[in-house]
């Protein structure tokens, strides 16, 4: 689990850098959440949870919101990804993007509720919800690209010799 965790954490850090240095303040997208969702569609739950903690910690460290807010939001995404993976048997990119949209919407509900309870903002204020809605739609639209990125990282890890524990070793003819 360590190798993919390090690889996906580095990808997350790179995305965070791009968001901070290039996209901010003109484009707001939840790319780290999308990354976590697509990693959550892979078999390993422990990898997804660990990645959720790493990415949540990274976001919490740069924000003024209490530590743990983004961790909780990561958990919501992990739960949604696992649910989608088990119940809906996602195979097509379109369905995956749709499932990511639903997951991001649930994450938004969680964040709105928690920030409301902590006294950060009113619940579902009109202007904020509109901006966040656009952000979620834009993020979900990038789903296929994120799928390719996660797939690419996976392939790169396999080329480097890493193989998930659940996956059988490749067939080797007897006697070789």
């Amino acid at each position: 689990m360590i190798a993919p965790l390090i690889a996906f954490s580095l990808v997350g850090l790179l995305i965070f850098y791009v968001q901070t240095l290039v996209l901010f303040p003109y484009v707001h997208l939840r790319l780290l959440a999308l990354l976590l969702f697509y990693v959550g569609l892979r078999p390993s739950l422990s990898l997804t949870l660990a990645l959720g903690l790493v990415l949540g910690c990274l976001q919490d460290s740069y924000a003024t919101t209490p530590q743990g807010l983004h961790w909780g939001a990561s958990l919501v995404l992990v739960a949604m990804a696992r649910f989608s993976r088990r119940r809906l048997l996602l195979q097509q990119l379109g369905f995956q993007a749709l499932a990511s949209l639903v997951a991001l919407a649930w994450q938004e509900v969680y964040l709105q509720l928690v920030t409301f309870m902590l006294g950060y903002q009113p619940l579902f204020s009109h202007d904020l919800t509109r901006v966040h809605g656009m952000e979620i739609l834009g993020t979900a639209a990038l789903g296929p690209l994120m799928h390719l990125l996660v797939q690419g990282v996976d392939d790169a890890l396999r080329r480097l010799g890493w193989r998930p524990r659940s996956e059988p070793m490749p067939y080797q003819p007897f006697g070789e």
């Binding site: 901010f24 959720g52 460290s61 743990g68 909780g72 950060y120």
Partner: protein, 277 residues
Amino acid sequence: MHPQGRYRTPLLLVLTLLLVFTVLSLSLKRSPALRKVQGLVVAMTAPGLEGLSYVGRSAKQLWLGYFYLVGVRRQNAELQRQLEEYKQRGVHFEEAEQALTRLEGLLDLKRQVALPVIGARVIAYDPTLWSSSAIINQGKAQGVKEGLPVLAPQGIVGRIVEVYPEYSKVMLIVDRKSSADAMVQRTRVRGMLKGKGGNRGSLEFVPKSADVQVGDLVLASGLVGLYPKGLVFGKVTAANKKNPGVFQEIEVTPSVDLSALEEVLVVKVATLTLSEP
């Protein structure tokens, strides 16, 4: 399924949930251990941001100062080599002049504030919409402390909320948790300036009988002692008396472009106040 395997997933989820809620509650109590974790994360990731930011600036300068001029030379063959050199110098001078103007502004502010200050460079922002904060490249080692005000030549930026060994976190005045005592310059009406997210704030608890108009300057009152008195928060961009209740709805836009900060000043003594301009 093996009994251990059956309980593995729910156990993992319960443990993670417990961890998250424990951390959340510790964070609300401002636990020093969590601050250390945050400091560690910032210390590990901020140098990368700082480095990339530097590379980006250098690449931009190189583009403006060299590649762009090469393109111009190709398109304009009649231009002499000397002229190109002058242009290159011009670009460098322009860049230097802009930096000089910014630094002069900071120096003026330093003189105006008449308090010990530390110059700092903004290296990162919180890219999410849930809070408005920035990371600066001065920390505990340079004498930065929590609660110190942060200023730019155009006005108030925010205050220090977390200090790490080499970096600090600044809560911008538009953050939803930010509030400060403020007054309208023209009529001396006081109110509480609260952050509203995005790039706006609101002046609250101002009675409807008070005279506040669009375009009025909103200054720090200095009464709570957090921000030096007389420094500019921003301008009134909307004032509504038709809302229900006894107070007006006043929207304030900061005088500083809080999403494009480069150099800022950290005032080292938070409790002193400025003499009124």
